[in-house]
Amino acid sequence: MLIRRLYQFLMIYFLGVGVLLALKYGAGLSDYVVPGPVLIWRTCMDTTARYLSDVADTLSVAVVGQVLSILLALLVGILGRQTSWFGSFIKAAAYNVQAYPIVALAPIIFILLGDGWPARLLIAAMICYFPLLLSVLGIMSEPVVDIEHFYRQTGRMRWQLEVKIRAFENIGKLTTVIAGSATLAMAGTIVAEFIAANAGIGYSIRIALYQSDLAKILVALFVIGITLSLYQGFLEWCGLRVKSAWIGQPGEPSGGES
Protein backbone atom coordinates (compact mmCIF):
# COMPACT_ATOMS: atom_id res chain seq x y z
CA MET A 1 0.00 0.00 0.00
CA LEU A 2 2.78 2.42 1.00
CA ILE A 3 4.91 1.47 -1.98
CA ARG A 4 2.00 1.98 -4.35
CA ARG A 5 1.24 5.40 -2.84
CA LEU A 6 4.89 6.40 -3.23
CA TYR A 7 5.37 5.36 -6.81
CA GLN A 8 2.03 6.84 -7.84
CA PHE A 9 3.13 10.15 -6.31
CA LEU A 10 6.52 9.93 -8.04
CA MET A 11 4.83 9.30 -11.38
CA ILE A 12 2.60 12.35 -10.99
CA TYR A 13 5.42 14.54 -9.71
CA PHE A 14 7.87 13.67 -12.48
CA LEU A 15 5.14 13.97 -15.09
CA GLY A 16 4.48 17.52 -13.83
CA VAL A 17 8.18 18.40 -13.84
CA GLY A 18 8.49 16.85 -17.30
CA VAL A 19 5.72 19.09 -18.64
CA LEU A 20 7.45 22.14 -17.14
CA LEU A 21 10.79 21.16 -18.70
CA ALA A 22 9.15 20.52 -22.06
CA LEU A 23 7.66 24.01 -21.84
CA LYS A 24 11.05 25.43 -20.86
CA TYR A 25 12.97 23.88 -23.73
CA GLY A 26 10.11 24.23 -26.21
CA ALA A 27 9.73 27.97 -25.60
CA GLY A 28 13.41 28.63 -24.82
CA LEU A 29 12.70 29.94 -21.32
CA SER A 30 15.45 30.87 -18.88
CA ASP A 31 16.16 29.18 -15.55
CA TYR A 32 14.42 32.13 -13.90
CA VAL A 33 11.03 31.15 -15.32
CA VAL A 34 11.49 27.38 -15.24
CA PRO A 35 14.65 25.97 -13.62
CA GLY A 36 16.62 23.39 -15.56
CA PRO A 37 17.39 19.88 -14.27
CA VAL A 38 20.88 20.89 -13.05
CA LEU A 39 19.53 23.80 -11.04
CA ILE A 40 16.72 21.67 -9.59
CA TRP A 41 19.22 19.01 -8.59
CA ARG A 42 21.60 21.54 -7.02
CA THR A 43 18.71 23.14 -5.10
CA CYS A 44 17.59 19.69 -4.03
CA MET A 45 21.04 18.97 -2.58
CA ASP A 46 21.14 22.34 -0.80
CA THR A 47 17.65 22.46 0.67
CA THR A 48 16.20 18.95 1.09
CA ALA A 49 17.48 18.45 4.65
CA ARG A 50 16.10 21.81 5.77
CA TYR A 51 12.80 21.26 3.98
CA LEU A 52 12.43 17.79 5.52
CA SER A 53 12.68 19.37 8.94
CA ASP A 54 10.15 22.05 7.88
CA VAL A 55 7.73 19.42 6.56
CA ALA A 56 8.07 17.41 9.79
CA ASP A 57 7.15 20.57 11.68
CA THR A 58 4.15 21.15 9.40
CA LEU A 59 3.08 17.50 9.62
CA SER A 60 3.14 17.57 13.42
CA VAL A 61 0.67 20.48 13.40
CA ALA A 62 -1.41 18.84 10.66
CA VAL A 63 -1.73 15.58 12.59
CA VAL A 64 -2.94 17.32 15.75
CA GLY A 65 -5.28 19.48 13.64
CA GLN A 66 -6.66 16.41 11.94
CA VAL A 67 -7.27 14.61 15.22
CA LEU A 68 -9.09 17.68 16.56
CA SER A 69 -11.17 17.89 13.38
CA ILE A 70 -12.11 14.23 13.59
CA LEU A 71 -13.20 14.58 17.22
CA LEU A 72 -15.13 17.76 16.49
CA ALA A 73 -16.74 16.34 13.35
CA LEU A 74 -17.79 13.21 15.25
CA LEU A 75 -19.23 15.31 18.06
CA VAL A 76 -21.13 17.68 15.75
CA GLY A 77 -22.08 14.82 13.43
CA ILE A 78 -23.57 12.82 16.32
CA LEU A 79 -25.42 15.86 17.70
CA GLY A 80 -26.52 16.98 14.24
CA ARG A 81 -27.80 13.56 13.16
CA GLN A 82 -31.09 14.25 14.92
CA THR A 83 -33.91 15.74 12.92
CA SER A 84 -34.71 18.04 15.82
CA TRP A 85 -34.37 21.84 15.87
CA PHE A 86 -31.03 21.47 17.68
CA GLY A 87 -29.75 19.10 14.99
CA SER A 88 -30.59 21.50 12.19
CA PHE A 89 -29.13 24.42 14.18
CA ILE A 90 -25.82 22.55 14.56
CA LYS A 91 -25.75 21.84 10.82
CA ALA A 92 -26.55 25.47 9.91
CA ALA A 93 -23.84 26.77 12.28
CA ALA A 94 -21.26 24.34 10.88
CA TYR A 95 -22.06 25.30 7.29
CA ASN A 96 -21.99 29.02 8.03
CA VAL A 97 -18.59 28.90 9.71
CA GLN A 98 -17.22 27.15 6.65
CA ALA A 99 -18.75 29.71 4.27
CA TYR A 100 -16.08 32.27 5.17
CA PRO A 101 -12.84 31.85 3.20
CA ILE A 102 -9.91 31.13 5.44
CA VAL A 103 -7.85 33.99 3.97
CA ALA A 104 -10.50 36.38 5.31
CA LEU A 105 -10.55 34.77 8.75
CA ALA A 106 -6.80 34.26 9.04
CA PRO A 107 -5.90 37.89 9.90
CA ILE A 108 -8.43 37.82 12.77
CA ILE A 109 -7.04 34.49 13.97
CA PHE A 110 -3.49 35.81 13.88
CA ILE A 111 -4.40 38.98 15.74
CA LEU A 112 -6.11 36.94 18.46
CA LEU A 113 -3.71 34.00 18.68
CA GLY A 114 -0.47 35.44 17.30
CA ASP A 115 1.48 33.76 14.53
CA GLY A 116 2.62 30.70 16.42
CA TRP A 117 1.54 27.10 16.80
CA PRO A 118 -2.10 27.66 17.98
CA ALA A 119 -3.02 29.75 14.93
CA ARG A 120 -1.55 27.17 12.53
CA LEU A 121 -3.38 24.42 14.35
CA LEU A 122 -6.73 26.19 14.28
CA ILE A 123 -6.51 26.96 10.55
CA ALA A 124 -5.46 23.38 9.75
CA ALA A 125 -8.40 22.06 11.77
CA MET A 126 -10.82 24.50 10.14
CA ILE A 127 -9.84 23.48 6.60
CA CYS A 128 -9.85 19.78 7.42
CA TYR A 129 -13.01 19.77 9.52
CA PHE A 130 -15.81 20.59 7.08
CA PRO A 131 -15.42 17.72 4.58
CA LEU A 132 -15.12 15.38 7.55
CA LEU A 133 -18.26 16.83 9.07
CA LEU A 134 -20.21 16.40 5.83
CA SER A 135 -19.26 12.74 5.67
CA VAL A 136 -19.96 12.10 9.34
CA LEU A 137 -23.31 13.91 9.15
CA GLY A 138 -24.21 11.92 6.02
CA ILE A 139 -23.34 8.64 7.71
CA MET A 140 -24.91 9.43 11.08
CA SER A 141 -28.14 10.86 9.61
CA GLU A 142 -28.79 7.74 7.53
CA PRO A 143 -30.66 5.06 9.54
CA VAL A 144 -29.71 1.41 9.11
CA VAL A 145 -33.39 0.48 8.97
CA ASP A 146 -33.17 -3.33 9.20
CA ILE A 147 -31.06 -3.38 12.34
CA GLU A 148 -32.36 -0.26 14.06
CA HIS A 149 -35.97 -1.40 13.60
CA PHE A 150 -35.33 -4.45 15.77
CA TYR A 151 -33.89 -2.44 18.65
CA ARG A 152 -36.62 0.19 18.39
CA GLN A 153 -39.36 -2.41 18.45
CA THR A 154 -37.79 -4.12 21.48
CA GLY A 155 -37.35 -0.75 23.25
CA ARG A 156 -33.59 -1.23 23.62
CA MET A 157 -32.46 1.57 21.34
CA ARG A 158 -30.16 4.18 22.95
CA TRP A 159 -28.30 6.96 21.18
CA GLN A 160 -24.95 5.24 21.86
CA LEU A 161 -26.22 2.09 20.19
CA GLU A 162 -27.58 4.05 17.22
CA VAL A 163 -24.19 5.72 16.69
CA LYS A 164 -22.41 2.37 16.99
CA ILE A 165 -24.68 0.68 14.45
CA ARG A 166 -24.31 3.47 11.91
CA ALA A 167 -20.52 3.70 12.40
CA PHE A 168 -20.15 -0.09 12.15
CA GLU A 169 -22.19 -0.30 8.97
CA ASN A 170 -20.17 2.53 7.35
CA ILE A 171 -16.71 1.77 8.74
CA GLY A 172 -15.20 1.58 5.23
CA LYS A 173 -16.49 5.04 4.31
CA LEU A 174 -15.34 6.52 7.63
CA THR A 175 -11.77 5.22 7.38
CA THR A 176 -11.48 6.39 3.76
CA VAL A 177 -12.71 9.88 4.67
CA ILE A 178 -10.35 10.09 7.64
CA ALA A 179 -7.36 9.01 5.53
CA GLY A 180 -8.35 11.50 2.82
CA SER A 181 -8.68 14.32 5.31
CA ALA A 182 -4.94 14.09 6.01
CA THR A 183 -4.37 15.91 2.71
CA LEU A 184 -6.71 18.68 3.80
CA ALA A 185 -5.07 19.00 7.21
CA MET A 186 -1.66 19.28 5.58
CA ALA A 187 -2.93 21.79 3.00
CA GLY A 188 -4.59 23.80 5.77
CA THR A 189 -1.39 23.97 7.80
CA ILE A 190 0.64 24.99 4.74
CA VAL A 191 -1.88 27.76 3.94
CA ALA A 192 -1.68 29.00 7.54
CA GLU A 193 2.12 29.03 7.43
CA PHE A 194 2.11 30.73 4.05
CA ILE A 195 -0.19 33.49 5.26
CA ALA A 196 1.48 34.35 8.50
CA ALA A 197 3.48 31.80 10.46
CA ASN A 198 7.19 31.86 11.11
CA ALA A 199 7.87 28.16 10.70
CA GLY A 200 7.00 25.15 8.61
CA ILE A 201 7.19 24.38 4.91
CA GLY A 202 4.49 26.94 4.03
CA TYR A 203 6.72 29.66 5.45
CA SER A 204 9.70 28.36 3.46
CA ILE A 205 7.58 28.34 0.29
CA ARG A 206 6.64 31.96 0.95
CA ILE A 207 10.32 32.94 1.19
CA ALA A 208 11.09 31.02 -2.01
CA LEU A 209 8.23 32.84 -3.71
CA TYR A 210 9.62 36.22 -2.61
CA GLN A 211 12.91 35.20 -4.18
CA SER A 212 11.14 33.94 -7.34
CA ASP A 213 12.92 30.63 -6.81
CA LEU A 214 10.80 27.98 -8.53
CA ALA A 215 13.51 25.32 -8.00
CA LYS A 216 13.04 25.62 -4.22
CA ILE A 217 9.27 25.42 -4.62
CA LEU A 218 9.61 22.25 -6.72
CA VAL A 219 11.83 20.68 -4.06
CA ALA A 220 9.35 21.70 -1.35
CA LEU A 221 6.49 20.12 -3.32
CA PHE A 222 8.50 16.93 -3.68
CA VAL A 223 9.18 16.68 0.05
CA ILE A 224 5.55 17.49 0.90
CA GLY A 225 4.30 14.87 -1.57
CA ILE A 226 6.57 12.13 -0.25
CA THR A 227 5.70 12.86 3.36
CA LEU A 228 1.98 13.05 2.68
CA SER A 229 2.02 9.81 0.70
CA LEU A 230 3.70 8.05 3.62
CA TYR A 231 1.27 9.51 6.14
CA GLN A 232 -1.78 8.63 4.06
CA GLY A 233 -0.45 5.15 3.48
CA PHE A 234 -0.01 4.80 7.25
CA LEU A 235 -3.58 5.99 7.90
CA GLU A 236 -4.96 3.56 5.35
CA TRP A 237 -3.03 0.76 6.99
CA CYS A 238 -4.47 1.80 10.38
CA GLY A 239 -7.95 1.88 8.82
CA LEU A 240 -7.47 -1.69 7.61
CA ARG A 241 -6.38 -2.87 11.03
CA VAL A 242 -9.36 -1.16 12.72
CA LYS A 243 -11.74 -2.63 10.17
CA SER A 244 -10.42 -6.14 10.47
CA ALA A 245 -10.37 -5.92 14.27
CA TRP A 246 -13.96 -4.63 14.43
CA ILE A 247 -15.50 -6.71 11.71
CA GLY A 248 -13.40 -9.72 12.62
CA GLN A 249 -12.08 -10.46 9.18
CA PRO A 250 -9.18 -9.08 7.13
CA GLY A 251 -10.48 -6.08 5.27
CA GLU A 252 -9.56 -4.45 2.01
CA PRO A 253 -9.20 -0.71 1.93
CA SER A 254 -11.98 0.98 0.03
CA GLY A 255 -11.01 2.36 -3.37
CA GLY A 256 -9.55 -0.96 -4.42
CA GLU A 257 -6.08 -0.44 -2.97
CA SER A 258 -4.24 -3.28 -1.34
Partner: protein, 332 residues
Protein backbone atom coordinates in the same frame (compact mmCIF):
# COMPACT_ATOMS: atom_id res chain seq x y z
CA UNK B 1 -15.71 60.22 -73.36
CA UNK B 2 -17.91 58.26 -71.02
CA UNK B 3 -14.92 56.00 -70.05
CA UNK B 4 -12.72 59.00 -69.33
CA UNK B 5 -15.45 60.46 -67.24
CA UNK B 6 -15.65 57.26 -65.24
CA UNK B 7 -11.87 57.30 -64.61
CA UNK B 8 -12.09 60.93 -63.66
CA UNK B 9 -14.96 60.04 -61.33
CA UNK B 10 -13.11 57.11 -59.73
CA UNK B 11 -9.81 58.90 -59.24
CA UNK B 12 -10.91 61.01 -56.25
CA UNK B 13 -12.56 57.91 -54.74
CA UNK B 14 -9.27 56.00 -54.88
CA UNK B 15 -7.42 59.02 -53.52
CA UNK B 16 -9.88 59.20 -50.63
CA UNK B 17 -9.59 55.47 -49.90
CA UNK B 18 -5.77 55.65 -49.86
CA UNK B 19 -5.85 58.82 -47.78
CA UNK B 20 -8.13 57.21 -45.19
CA UNK B 21 -6.02 54.07 -45.15
CA UNK B 22 -2.82 56.09 -44.69
CA UNK B 23 -4.40 58.18 -41.95
CA UNK B 24 -5.69 55.06 -40.26
CA UNK B 25 -2.23 53.53 -40.40
CA UNK B 26 -0.73 56.66 -38.91
CA UNK B 27 -3.25 56.48 -36.09
CA UNK B 28 -2.78 52.76 -35.68
CA UNK B 29 -2.45 52.08 -31.99
CA UNK B 30 -0.04 49.49 -30.67
CA UNK B 31 -1.34 47.60 -27.68
CA UNK B 32 1.11 46.85 -24.90
CA UNK B 33 0.82 45.50 -21.37
CA UNK B 34 2.64 47.20 -18.49
CA UNK B 35 2.86 45.20 -15.27
CA UNK B 36 3.46 47.27 -12.15
CA UNK B 37 5.42 46.03 -9.13
CA UNK B 38 2.71 46.70 -6.58
CA UNK B 39 -0.86 47.93 -6.29
CA UNK B 40 -1.98 51.15 -7.95
CA UNK B 41 -1.11 53.79 -5.37
CA UNK B 42 1.03 56.91 -5.10
CA UNK B 43 4.18 54.90 -5.87
CA UNK B 44 2.77 54.47 -9.38
CA UNK B 45 1.56 58.09 -9.78
CA UNK B 46 3.46 58.73 -13.02
CA UNK B 47 2.35 55.43 -14.54
CA UNK B 48 -1.29 56.18 -13.80
CA UNK B 49 -1.02 59.78 -15.02
CA UNK B 50 0.64 58.67 -18.28
CA UNK B 51 -2.30 56.35 -18.91
CA UNK B 52 -5.18 58.42 -17.57
CA UNK B 53 -4.14 61.78 -19.04
CA UNK B 54 -3.50 60.37 -22.51
CA UNK B 55 0.30 60.44 -22.76
CA UNK B 56 0.41 56.87 -24.02
CA UNK B 57 -2.46 57.50 -26.42
CA UNK B 58 -0.72 60.52 -27.90
CA UNK B 59 2.33 58.31 -28.47
CA UNK B 60 0.10 55.95 -30.45
CA UNK B 61 0.02 53.32 -27.75
CA UNK B 62 -2.85 51.57 -26.05
CA UNK B 63 -1.39 50.57 -22.71
CA UNK B 64 -3.02 48.20 -20.26
CA UNK B 65 -1.56 49.06 -16.88
CA UNK B 66 -1.87 46.05 -14.59
CA UNK B 67 -1.43 46.15 -10.83
CA UNK B 68 1.35 44.07 -9.35
CA UNK B 69 1.59 42.11 -6.13
CA UNK B 70 3.66 39.47 -4.39
CA UNK B 71 2.47 36.69 -6.66
CA UNK B 72 2.83 38.71 -9.87
CA UNK B 73 6.29 38.85 -11.29
CA UNK B 74 6.77 41.31 -14.15
CA UNK B 75 10.06 39.69 -15.15
CA UNK B 76 8.45 36.28 -15.68
CA UNK B 77 5.60 37.89 -17.61
CA UNK B 78 8.07 39.64 -19.92
CA UNK B 79 9.77 36.36 -20.76
CA UNK B 80 6.50 34.50 -21.22
CA UNK B 81 5.19 37.30 -23.45
CA UNK B 82 2.29 38.20 -21.15
CA UNK B 83 3.64 41.74 -20.66
CA UNK B 84 5.80 44.06 -22.75
CA UNK B 85 7.02 46.33 -19.98
CA UNK B 86 7.14 46.05 -16.24
CA UNK B 87 8.43 47.47 -13.01
CA UNK B 88 10.88 45.54 -10.85
CA UNK B 89 13.43 46.33 -8.17
CA UNK B 90 17.15 45.90 -8.78
CA UNK B 91 17.43 42.75 -6.67
CA UNK B 92 14.67 41.10 -8.72
CA UNK B 93 16.35 42.10 -11.98
CA UNK B 94 19.80 40.93 -10.88
CA UNK B 95 18.43 37.63 -9.55
CA UNK B 96 16.56 37.04 -12.83
CA UNK B 97 19.62 37.96 -14.86
CA UNK B 98 21.75 35.55 -12.82
CA UNK B 99 19.43 32.79 -14.02
CA UNK B 100 19.66 33.85 -17.65
CA UNK B 101 16.47 35.92 -17.98
CA UNK B 102 16.83 38.20 -21.02
CA UNK B 103 15.76 41.39 -19.25
CA UNK B 104 16.97 44.97 -19.67
CA UNK B 105 16.41 48.09 -17.58
CA UNK B 106 15.35 51.17 -19.52
CA UNK B 107 14.70 53.63 -16.68
CA UNK B 108 14.94 53.93 -12.92
CA UNK B 109 11.82 55.48 -11.41
CA UNK B 110 12.96 55.86 -7.79
CA UNK B 111 16.34 57.52 -7.31
CA UNK B 112 16.04 56.86 -3.57
CA UNK B 113 14.73 53.56 -2.26
CA UNK B 114 11.42 54.20 -0.43
CA UNK B 115 12.12 51.39 2.03
CA UNK B 116 12.81 52.73 5.53
CA UNK B 117 12.19 51.57 9.09
CA UNK B 118 9.69 53.33 11.35
CA UNK B 119 10.46 53.43 15.09
CA UNK B 120 9.04 54.89 18.28
CA UNK B 121 10.90 58.03 19.28
CA UNK B 122 10.48 57.43 23.01
CA UNK B 123 13.72 55.45 22.98
CA UNK B 124 15.51 58.41 21.37
CA UNK B 125 16.42 59.19 17.77
CA UNK B 126 18.36 56.62 15.78
CA UNK B 127 21.13 58.46 14.04
CA UNK B 128 23.49 55.68 13.06
CA UNK B 129 23.46 51.94 12.28
CA UNK B 130 25.21 51.42 15.63
CA UNK B 131 21.89 52.34 17.27
CA UNK B 132 20.41 49.11 15.89
CA UNK B 133 22.30 47.08 18.48
CA UNK B 134 20.09 45.15 20.93
CA UNK B 135 16.97 46.09 19.01
CA UNK B 136 14.18 43.90 17.67
CA UNK B 137 13.98 44.72 13.98
CA UNK B 138 11.21 43.72 11.61
CA UNK B 139 12.23 42.27 8.24
CA UNK B 140 10.45 40.28 5.55
CA UNK B 141 12.61 37.20 5.31
CA UNK B 142 13.50 36.54 1.68
CA UNK B 143 12.82 40.09 0.49
CA UNK B 144 15.16 42.97 -0.13
CA UNK B 145 14.53 44.59 3.27
CA UNK B 146 16.21 41.60 4.92
CA UNK B 147 19.33 42.05 2.76
CA UNK B 148 19.39 45.81 3.37
CA UNK B 149 19.09 45.39 7.14
CA UNK B 150 21.73 42.66 7.26
CA UNK B 151 24.05 44.96 5.26
CA UNK B 152 23.47 47.79 7.74
CA UNK B 153 24.07 45.50 10.71
CA UNK B 154 27.25 44.02 9.23
CA UNK B 155 28.46 47.48 8.17
CA UNK B 156 28.08 48.76 11.72
CA UNK B 157 30.11 45.85 13.05
CA UNK B 158 27.19 44.60 15.13
CA UNK B 159 27.23 40.90 15.97
CA UNK B 160 24.31 38.98 14.46
CA UNK B 161 23.44 37.80 17.96
CA UNK B 162 23.09 41.38 19.20
CA UNK B 163 19.96 42.08 17.20
CA UNK B 164 16.75 40.11 16.89
CA UNK B 165 15.21 39.93 13.44
CA UNK B 166 11.44 39.60 13.56
CA UNK B 167 9.44 38.22 10.64
CA UNK B 168 6.90 40.83 9.54
CA UNK B 169 3.64 40.73 7.63
CA UNK B 170 1.13 43.39 6.69
CA UNK B 171 -0.26 43.40 10.23
CA UNK B 172 1.47 46.14 12.23
CA UNK B 173 0.18 44.98 15.63
CA UNK B 174 3.63 43.85 16.94
CA UNK B 175 4.99 47.33 16.18
CA UNK B 176 2.03 49.14 17.73
CA UNK B 177 2.34 46.95 20.83
CA UNK B 178 6.06 47.70 21.11
CA UNK B 179 7.10 44.07 20.61
CA UNK B 180 9.21 45.21 17.66
CA UNK B 181 11.39 48.33 17.76
CA UNK B 182 11.76 48.98 14.04
CA UNK B 183 9.26 48.06 11.34
CA UNK B 184 9.92 48.26 7.57
CA UNK B 185 7.66 50.62 5.62
CA UNK B 186 7.58 52.37 2.28
CA UNK B 187 8.13 55.93 3.40
CA UNK B 188 5.91 57.47 0.71
CA UNK B 189 2.85 55.23 1.28
CA UNK B 190 2.68 53.15 4.49
CA UNK B 191 5.06 55.57 6.22
CA UNK B 192 2.55 58.40 5.73
CA UNK B 193 -0.49 56.32 6.74
CA UNK B 194 1.04 54.81 9.88
CA UNK B 195 2.84 58.04 10.79
CA UNK B 196 -0.50 59.91 10.61
CA UNK B 197 -2.27 57.28 12.73
CA UNK B 198 0.38 57.31 15.42
CA UNK B 199 0.61 61.10 15.35
CA UNK B 200 -3.12 61.30 16.02
CA UNK B 201 -2.63 58.88 18.92
CA UNK B 202 0.05 61.19 20.33
CA UNK B 203 2.92 58.82 19.56
CA UNK B 204 6.15 60.30 18.20
CA UNK B 205 7.86 58.25 15.49
CA UNK B 206 11.04 58.52 13.49
CA UNK B 207 12.27 56.90 10.27
CA UNK B 208 15.56 55.11 9.79
CA UNK B 209 16.72 55.59 6.20
CA UNK B 210 19.40 53.13 4.93
CA UNK B 211 20.46 55.54 2.17
CA UNK B 212 21.56 58.02 4.87
CA UNK B 213 24.09 55.39 5.92
CA UNK B 214 25.50 54.54 2.53
CA UNK B 215 23.22 51.65 1.53
CA UNK B 216 21.74 52.58 -1.85
CA UNK B 217 19.76 49.55 -2.89
CA UNK B 218 17.92 50.39 -6.13
CA UNK B 219 14.14 50.09 -6.11
CA UNK B 220 11.47 50.45 -8.82
CA UNK B 221 12.86 50.44 -12.34
CA UNK B 222 11.23 50.02 -15.75
CA UNK B 223 12.16 46.80 -17.50
CA UNK B 224 11.52 45.16 -20.83
CA UNK B 225 12.80 42.09 -22.62
CA UNK B 226 15.93 42.13 -24.73
CA UNK B 227 13.85 40.75 -27.61
CA UNK B 228 11.48 43.72 -27.40
CA UNK B 229 14.43 46.10 -27.31
CA UNK B 230 16.02 44.55 -30.40
CA UNK B 231 12.92 43.94 -32.49
CA UNK B 232 10.71 46.88 -31.61
CA UNK B 233 12.90 49.66 -30.29
CA UNK B 234 10.50 52.24 -31.74
CA UNK B 235 7.70 51.07 -29.45
CA UNK B 236 10.15 51.00 -26.54
CA UNK B 237 11.12 54.63 -27.21
CA UNK B 238 7.49 55.72 -27.63
CA UNK B 239 6.46 53.93 -24.45
CA UNK B 240 9.30 55.22 -22.33
CA UNK B 241 8.99 58.76 -23.68
CA UNK B 242 5.28 58.86 -22.81
CA UNK B 243 5.84 57.19 -19.44
CA UNK B 244 8.52 59.65 -18.36
CA UNK B 245 6.32 62.54 -19.56
CA UNK B 246 3.65 61.19 -17.24
CA UNK B 247 6.11 61.04 -14.36
CA UNK B 248 7.36 64.59 -15.04
CA UNK B 249 3.78 65.84 -14.99
CA UNK B 250 2.97 63.92 -11.80
CA UNK B 251 6.07 65.12 -9.96
CA UNK B 252 5.57 68.78 -10.90
CA UNK B 253 4.24 70.56 -7.77
CA UNK B 254 2.01 72.69 -10.01
CA UNK B 255 0.12 69.54 -11.07
CA UNK B 256 -0.36 68.13 -7.58
CA UNK B 257 -4.14 68.53 -7.64
CA UNK B 258 -4.64 66.62 -10.89
CA UNK B 259 -2.15 63.93 -9.89
CA UNK B 260 -3.94 63.34 -6.59
CA UNK B 261 -7.28 63.14 -8.44
CA UNK B 262 -5.88 60.53 -10.85
CA UNK B 263 -4.38 58.40 -8.08
CA UNK B 264 -7.50 58.70 -5.94
CA UNK B 265 -9.42 57.09 -8.80
CA UNK B 266 -7.46 53.91 -8.13
CA UNK B 267 -6.69 54.24 -4.41
CA UNK B 268 -10.14 54.97 -3.02
CA UNK B 269 -9.30 54.07 0.57
CA UNK B 270 -6.85 56.94 1.04
CA UNK B 271 -8.10 60.42 1.80
CA UNK B 272 -7.04 63.50 -0.13
CA UNK B 273 -4.78 64.81 2.66
CA UNK B 274 -2.96 61.49 2.91
CA UNK B 275 -2.52 61.33 -0.86
CA UNK B 276 -1.14 64.86 -0.93
CA UNK B 277 1.39 63.95 1.76
CA UNK B 278 2.23 60.75 -0.14
CA UNK B 279 2.77 62.71 -3.34
CA UNK B 280 5.16 65.08 -1.60
CA UNK B 281 7.11 62.12 -0.18
CA UNK B 282 7.16 60.40 -3.57
CA UNK B 283 8.54 63.53 -5.23
CA UNK B 284 11.61 63.37 -2.97
CA UNK B 285 12.26 59.78 -4.07
CA UNK B 286 11.76 60.28 -7.80
CA UNK B 287 13.45 63.65 -8.05
CA UNK B 288 15.58 64.23 -4.97
CA UNK B 289 17.17 67.34 -6.47
CA UNK B 290 16.32 69.73 -9.26
CA UNK B 291 19.23 68.52 -11.38
CA UNK B 292 18.11 64.87 -11.24
CA UNK B 293 16.57 63.72 -14.50
CA UNK B 294 13.42 61.69 -14.00
CA UNK B 295 14.11 58.09 -15.04
CA UNK B 296 17.90 58.42 -14.88
CA UNK B 297 19.70 55.19 -14.11
CA UNK B 298 22.05 55.43 -11.12
CA UNK B 299 24.79 53.05 -12.25
CA UNK B 300 26.91 53.22 -9.05
CA UNK B 301 23.81 52.31 -7.01
CA UNK B 302 23.14 49.34 -9.30
CA UNK B 303 26.74 48.20 -8.88
CA UNK B 304 26.41 48.53 -5.11
CA UNK B 305 23.18 46.51 -5.19
CA UNK B 306 24.96 43.77 -7.12
CA UNK B 307 27.87 43.78 -4.64
CA UNK B 308 25.49 43.54 -1.67
CA UNK B 309 23.69 40.59 -3.27
CA UNK B 310 27.00 38.88 -3.95
CA UNK B 311 28.12 39.40 -0.35
CA UNK B 312 24.88 37.90 0.95
CA UNK B 313 24.98 34.89 -1.36
CA UNK B 314 21.91 35.98 -3.30
CA UNK B 315 23.78 35.42 -6.55
CA UNK B 316 26.74 33.15 -7.24
CA UNK B 317 28.66 35.46 -9.56
CA UNK B 318 28.49 39.03 -10.90
CA UNK B 319 25.89 39.50 -13.63
CA UNK B 320 27.63 42.36 -15.46
CA UNK B 321 25.14 45.01 -14.48
CA UNK B 322 26.38 47.29 -17.27
CA UNK B 323 24.88 44.90 -19.84
CA UNK B 324 21.45 45.07 -18.23
CA UNK B 325 21.19 48.85 -18.04
CA UNK B 326 19.99 50.39 -21.28
CA UNK B 327 18.83 53.95 -20.76
CA UNK B 328 16.81 55.42 -23.61
CA UNK B 329 19.71 57.39 -25.11
CA UNK B 330 21.83 54.25 -25.36
CA UNK B 331 19.03 52.30 -26.95
CA UNK B 332 18.31 54.78 -29.68
Amino acid sequence: MNRLTLQQFLMPVWVLIFAFAAADQARAVDTVVYRLKWLKNMSTAGDLVANSLGYFERAGLSVTVKAGGPERDALRELELGHAHFGVASADQVIRARAKGAPVVVIAQLFQVNPLQWIYHMDGGAMNSPGDLENKTIGVTFGKNDEIIMRTLIAGAGIKATSVRLFSVRLDYTPFYKGQVDLWPVYINTQGIEIGEKLKRAGVAVGFFDPSDHGVRFVANSVVTSRRMMEKDSTTVRRFLGALLEGWRFAMDPDNAGRTVTVVQGFDRDSGKAVLEAQLEATRKLVRPSSDTAIGAIDVPAWLQTETIMLNHGQIDAPVKVGDILMPLSASQ
